[in-house]
Subunit: 223 residues, 2 copies
DNA sequence: AGGATGCTTCGCCCGACGACGAACGATCGC
DNA sequence: GCGATCGTTCGTCGTCGGGCGAAGCATCCT
């Protein structure tokens, strides 16, 4: 019968609200301890433990024991890709005009997406880099290259210090689900987020994927 | 709480074996009547009907009434993308050394993947097109371009008759789950499959995604 | 050592959902 | 028109799986 890959089992793992919440929380690429994931998913510790065990069993999540904590993280970029491609499917239903809650507004302005930056600010930065021809134009899912690192924006973002290309494509377009346009992902996307964080231009908001944006950065890139 | 797209609901829809089987059956892009989908999923007609109603409700599948039949098809390319990205996740578990059943062998040689060609033959064709620089090199998920249509392989596949670029990228890399390398998808991928079918170089096998390959094509492209 | 903290296992309850048979519309063929 | 076919809706059953509290280990702190 099947010579086909089993679609149902990973989907089933993602199809439970508590597990989905955990996976989304891990989308920013960091590892979180079980207790925190339980709080995020709003379930008790035993329930969370059971869910996490199934996620590990299914190969979506990796566990790392550190002291008396167990840190969980996504098992790989392909898992993150799958989650994002499903999220891209979701908005068909609600078509919720966001801008409602304060968090939604913050998420729409700036947030992390796996290990890079997303939201309006991310689009502003990507547009500026494309405009000064520092990178090739972005297309959703497609990959591009770094063209030059001596433009004004490229200098401010320290593109010259970007990691040498490895397995990962340097420039990737990642479809932004609030703006429906691709923002900068890939190795360079991760590098830019790191630069912004260490320069204090953005800061993580605890318990959230949204990012606090400095005024300096906002006036420069908010569209 | 959420400013996040709802990951769980589409995943839940795909996470049920019967529904997953239906979705996979629709991956080749064609529309199938409810009865056939029921047979494929090995469930009774009422059960299939309920599943299909939920898939339509969730926006994954579109229904088209034709006579006394109702034909169902995937709602869009993004749905197919999500299904494929989940399938890519699945093989983590079994690591089944295929080549077991006859169908698995046939699927590994040539099959349809949504609306284009997949399997060893597809990789052979893609490699040949890249080698003669008819298209840009493929990368999984990335998109490329048509470079020239006058090479020997490009002529045989009538690349010059490929549809003008529309919303869809002309060349896309689609990760082949049997070979773990990207094969040719996108508008050109669909065009090539059409050419091969109408020339009789491949033929659909009823009730299956595998394709019968003519000897002529096999000696030319089987790696 | 002893208590606190973090996570897991166990046992149980309950609701949700998938499965089917039977009955009901709708459409086609003749 | 009349049976035949296709698909749906309805009612019912069984089970799978998610939820929690209590108890059990492990690790850390002092």
């Amino acid at each position: 019968m099947d010579g086909d890959a089993d679609l149902a089992s990973p989907a089933r793992l993602m199809g439970e609200p508590a597990r989905a919440a955990m996976l989304v929380a891990l989308l920013d690429g960091r590892a979180l301890p079980a207790g925190e994931l339980a709080a995020i998913a709003r379930v008790s510790a035993p329930t969370a433990s059971a869910h996490l065990a199934r996620l590990v069993e299914g190969g979506l999540v990796r566990a790392r024991a550190l002291g008396r904590h167990r840190y969980f993280e996504l098992a790989g970029a392909d898992v993150a890709d799958a989650i994002e491609s499903l999220q891209r499917l979701a908005p068909r239903r609600p078509v919720t005009s966001y801008g409602q809650s304060a968090t939604a507004r913050r998420l729409a302005e700036a947030r992390t997406c796996y290990d890079h930056l997303a939201g309006r600010i991310a689009l502003g930065i990507a547009d500026a880099l494309v405009a000064e021809e520092a990178i090739t134009p972005l297309e959703a899912g497609g990959s591009g290259m770094i063209l030059a690192t001596d433009g004004p924006v490229a200098r401010r973002l320290r593109l010259e210090a970007a990691p040498a290309p490895g397995r990962r494509p340097p420039v990737r377009g990642c479809l932004d689900w609030t703006e429906r346009r691709p923002h900068l992902a890939g190795a360079l996307g991760a590098h830019v987020l790191e630069v912004l964080l260490s320069a204090g231009w953005v800061a993580r908001v605890p318990g959230d994927r949204s990012l606090r944006v400095s005024d300096e950065l906002r006036v420069a890139f908010e569209s």
